[in-house]
């Protein structure tokens, strides 16, 4: 499979743009150790930032959890890595609204979250008889 023969729309083809040189990056992304997570989140809350969402990525043996914040339409991201089997601290003490997305991550990735005020016990998205972790990569 070569990258050049990507099927493209046959509609009025115009200028040909060479593929981007460097892979795109997320701006304002800061990698932080898990221990710093809660203090940093607390600092964002003190500034009046809005929690946009959490994104969990399965990296194989570990998870990367991204925390996206919005402050006057400027995004700020924190990235924390957590080995599989460890527990992710909940940030609901600062942002109550995170309970929904943290439960979702617990469901779909099997990553355990510690300190949830409302714990659905992996039954937010999944059914009672499901033991699947749908978003884990198959290997």
């Amino acid at each position: 499979m070569t990258t050049g023969e990507q099927p493209t729309s046959a509609l009025r083809p115009a200028t040909i743009v060479p593929p981007a040189q460097a892979p795109a990056r997320i701006e304002n992304l800061e990698r932080i150790p898990l221990a710093d997570l809660l203090p940093r989140v607390r600092a964002m809350a003190a500034q009046g930032a809005r929690l946009v969402t959490l994104t969990c990525v399965d990296m194989g043996g570990a998870f990367e959890v991204l925390y996206h914040f919005d402050l006057d339409l400027q995004l700020q991201h924190f990235s924390a890595q957590i080995p599989a089997g460890d527990k992710l601290p909940s940030i609901t003490s600062e942002y109550l609204c995170a309970f929904l997305v943290e439960n979702e991550i617990a469901d779909l990735f099997g990553l355990q979250v510690e300190g949830l005020p409302v714990d659905y016990h992996n039954r937010l998205m999944l059914t009672e008889d499901s033991s699947d972790r749908p978003l884990l990569r198959e290997r």
């Binding site: 099927p7 729309s9 046959a10 509609l11």
Partner: protein
């Protein structure tokens, strides 16, 4: 209530906003995506459409030279129309009639004795 009064009075004397549908039909807009049609005469069975189709509605068998199309999977996105190198696929603006049973269409290369594309259950 007075705010809606003129509206109510207007509606009493206005024609209905709806159409008596099966009896009165609005002709489709030109360019409406009703359903897709194949012209197997020009098809080269290259399989580009089936690889591009997001809902896997087209299956090409290159050895038998058949194109199996499942209209109940098709979302009429026109991706296959855009990608077909021989322009063998087109969009018709008429909607398909509703059906009781789901059928698939099998299109074959029209053999010299005229064998029209037939529907198979």
């Amino acid at each position: 209530m007075p705010n809606m009064l003129s509206n109510i009075l207007g509606n009493i004397f206005a024609r209905p906003a709806t159409r008596a549908y099966p009896a009165v039909r609005r002709p489709p807009f030109s360019g409406a995506r009703g359903h897709i049609v194949f012209d197997t005469k020009s098809c080269g069975f290259c399989g580009a459409c089936s690889r591009r189709c997001p809902s896997a509605a087209i299956v090409i068998n290159r050895t038998d030279k058949t194109l199996t199309f499942d209209p109940f999977r098709c979302i009429i996105c026109e991706a296959c129309v855009e990608v077909c190198p021989r322009k063998s696929i087109a969009v018709d603006s008429q909607y398909r009639a509703p059906a009781y049973v789901k059928t698939v269409e099998v299109h074959t290369l029209p053999a010299p004795p005229e064998e029209a594309p037939r529907a198979a259950g």
